[in-house]
Chain length 477, copies 2
């Protein structure tokens, strides 16, 4: 992974920049001690590390604006950071950059049930947004696996999804408005709490822009009434292709489960050893969950089980109690932790048309065999968002490089199947150099011209998303 050389001009005036930052922020909000900045040297893509020039922790929109104004005047790159849970290196610093962490921006600003929204500061964690309203019977739908830790700011940056997104959509479908601080310190409001807005709709452009267009400090989010109940059914199949075909048939039949989760044998085995969820011994497993009142749940599950039976499942078990449901989900939610017990892994993120699942899974199996690295699959099958986990040994010379090469092949396969390079993790640094697989040079140029408009000097998270050669003429340094 190549990163651009630090800008010598910035490094030389480090002390001057720090002094200016310390003049607008409280003492404990500017972190520059080399030991302390180590905490910000990487995000959840831990294979790549680089301590930043400094990290700042502003506690208000005004402080964010003051920081950006200074960095703009001094031409210092800024890397916005939510909770640092990016799996694509979205919050990876460069040595000449200031990390702008939004963790102190974590207040609930407004809860409005008649108008069905909550307004929060963007550093608030995903799960604590639901936490603020669940006592009254409401919830915020997008639920990334990292929801205990990840920040709404990061969810917006990456357009995050989660297990429940089949029914409720991803972040962009649940975001009503943002307060955005531009690189020059200007504060703008985009969207709002109410239906429609009379100008052009910038929310879509901001959501998923990976912190390259501005820093989101506040967000207005759609909240939903909690359904009366939910119940999962567990299905085991003797091949991944058959499980994939079952998913396509469920969707085609016109039921819309709230989640269809997929796990293959390597993942099932690791999870069972770790969490003991009582999963069947099989090649591929689906967890299909439906929501509603008991009668509606009964009827939907009856149809789903009828479809599954047509695919000759080796196991088919409907949850009989709240405890059993919790145990089924505990397994799925422990899957990433369980895989970590097996060794190092890289978690990929790509999307494909649901109908291509069987073929793509078959081809991933072949690629895994060819390259001699094990791949485990655990993902949101209902909306075609795949998360192949490639197992490798970080201490074995050459293993990381082979892992990266296999990852690239799998993502190319997603694009070829009609899908795309990223579902919910973003491009970050991880998939930067693969953008050319999906886009022609003129497409990339058109995308970079959007950044030109929002951030003409390319100071915001500049070394991400675009191949370094493509953005070289635009980045400072």
């Amino acid at each position: 992974m190549q990163m651009p050389a630090p800008d010598a001009r910035v490094m030389a005036k480090k002390d001057h920049v720090l002094r200016r930052l310390m003049a607008v922020l409280p003492e404990d909000a500017v972190i520059h001690d080399p030991t302390a900045t180590r905490a910000y040297e990487c995000d959840a893509l831990t294979a790549y590390r680089c301590p930043p020039l400094a990290a700042v922790l502003p506690a208000s929109t005004a402080e964010v604006a003051a920081v950006l104004k200074i960095c703009h005047e001094e031409r210092v790159p800024v890397v916005p950071r939510g909770s640092g849970t990016s799996l694509a290196g979205g919050a990876l610093p460069t040595a000449d950059s200031v990390i702008l962490g939004v963790a102190r921006l974590n207040e609930v600003l407004e809860v409005d049930y008649p108008n069905r929204f909550i307004r929060v500061q963007a550093g608030r964690t995903n799960l604590s947004v639901t936490g603020a309203v669940e006592g009254d019977g409401w919830f915020y739908a997008p639920d990334p696996s990292s929801q205990l830790a990840c920040a709404i700011a990061g969810n917006i940056g990456m357009n995050s999804g989660g297990a429940h997104c089949l029914k409720y959509g991803v972040t962009t479908n649940n975001l009503l408005g943002v307060t955005l601080v531009m690189m020059d310190g200007t504060v703008v409001e985009i969207g709002g709490a109410h239906l429609d807005a009379a100008g052009y709709d910038w929310l879509g452009v901001i959501c998923g822009s990976e912190g390259q267009l501005g820093v989101v400090t506040e967000a207005t989010l759609r909240i939903l009434p909690k359904p009366e109940g939910a119940r999962p059914v567990l299905m085991g199949f003797d091949s991944s292709e058959v499980a994939g075909a079952c998913v396509a048939d469920i969707i085609r039949a016109g039921v819309l489960p709230v989640a269809i989760e997929f796990m293959d044998r390597p993942c099932i085995a690791a999870t069972e050893a770790f969490a003991g969820a009582g999963y069947p011994d099989c090649e591929a497993l689906l967890i299909v969950e439906v929501e509603g009142c008991p009668a509606e749940i009964d009827e939907q599950l009856a149809l789903i089980k009828r479809i599954a039976e047509g695919h000759r499942p080796v196991a088919l078990r409907e949850s009989g109690s709240a405890e059993e449901s919790a145990r089924i989900w505990l397994g799925r939610k422990s899957a990433f932790g369980a895989m970590g017990q097996l060794g190092d892994y890289m978690c990929l993120d790509g999307t494909i048309p649901v109908s291509a699942l069987p073929e793509v899974l078959r081809r991933i199996g072949e690629l895994s065999a060819e390259m001699g690295l094990r791949v485990a699959n655990v993902f949101h099958a209902g909306d075609g968002n795949m998360h192949p986990l490639i197992l490798f040994d970080a201490n074995a010379p050459g293993d990381l490089e082979r892992c990266e090469a296999l990852g690239a092949e799998i993502l190319k396969l997603c694009v070829k199947a009609g899908g795309c390079l990223t579902g919910e993790h973003g491009v970050g640094v991880e998939k930067r150099d693969l953008m050319g697989v999906q886009y022609r040079p003129e497409d990339l140029d058109a995308q970079m011209r959007v950044k030109d408009v929002f951030d003409p000097d390319w100071l915001l998270n500049p070394a991400k998303v675009f191949p370094l050669e493509a953005s070289a003429g635009r980045r400072a340094g």
Copy 2:
């Protein structure tokens, strides 16, 4: 209503332009006879009329591109037109413009149930999109009142909603991708059929841009499985404020009906006389519909009726049969036709926070009395999208002007309440001069700079959306 003077330069070369258009389109696809162009002189905002230079009816994306390329080279303004059902004058021609009608682009291109989408040419009518999939148990959710006639292209241009949007969202929430022809004839694909896309998300900017950024020729739309059943309940109240408070309480309680429709006394009376739907004699009426399996419907309606009873309804009747449900909806769906029997009317479109309904309805009543024009209200109350109908007499001198003045006051009231100038009809020419109520000059300039990027010569629908003085320096002619 002032429109810009026709561009003399364009008028002088009319024959030359027509010859070029006829060279790339079939003979019957270029309409220029003054009698025939009269069919395109207005849309559903019939108070304003102006025959165009010509109207063209291309039948493919390639033909649309050929037309735009010629008009771009000749610097002739183009006004895109779906089915001409705009209530805001979005498809109103200028004398120097070519109307580009997409009515011949009406094919279904692809239906894909496993991936839950339909791809259609954009001139296809809204209702016939559902028509193409309902036999298999699916539907397309946005349902404008004009759905029998209105085109998907127009739905995208105005970000249309409808009665079912409380639960399913408006067009922007159900649009996955478009084929867009730029003013210079370039064809671009934006979004696609599958989850997420790796570049910036332009769909939000295109949806609702009123034909000012490009011409949409194909659209990929989310389709949904039809719910098992639906059932409405009819509620009468002795004041509009109380009905509004009941709506806010229903939403606050965490039920999400598929529709909450509101009608006030003038509208109820006209509708009863016209359609005989059996509506109660009262000041305000709500139709609340819920969906699901029978048990779920029973439970939701029980809660809704309990809330309604707290507001002392003068009538409360749950539908007991499919026939009764149809009759209840027939009344609502005939409301606009019924109002037309009473005389001329102007249909407004604004949004407000749901919680502000009681206060805004009260204030509309006062304004109506002050200005001496009757106002009837019929609208989607659940998401705060209001449609006050102002009754006037087009033959009475000064009545139209008073009607426009009252409309402007009501829309200002919406903005003041925290809402906005348009919910689903767009700005068009109707609300062009009110944009300054919602936006500062620098906000408008920022919006116009977006159009500068997509259409540097301001040839696409140029006299719409922005106040004429604000856009004067940019428009040709």
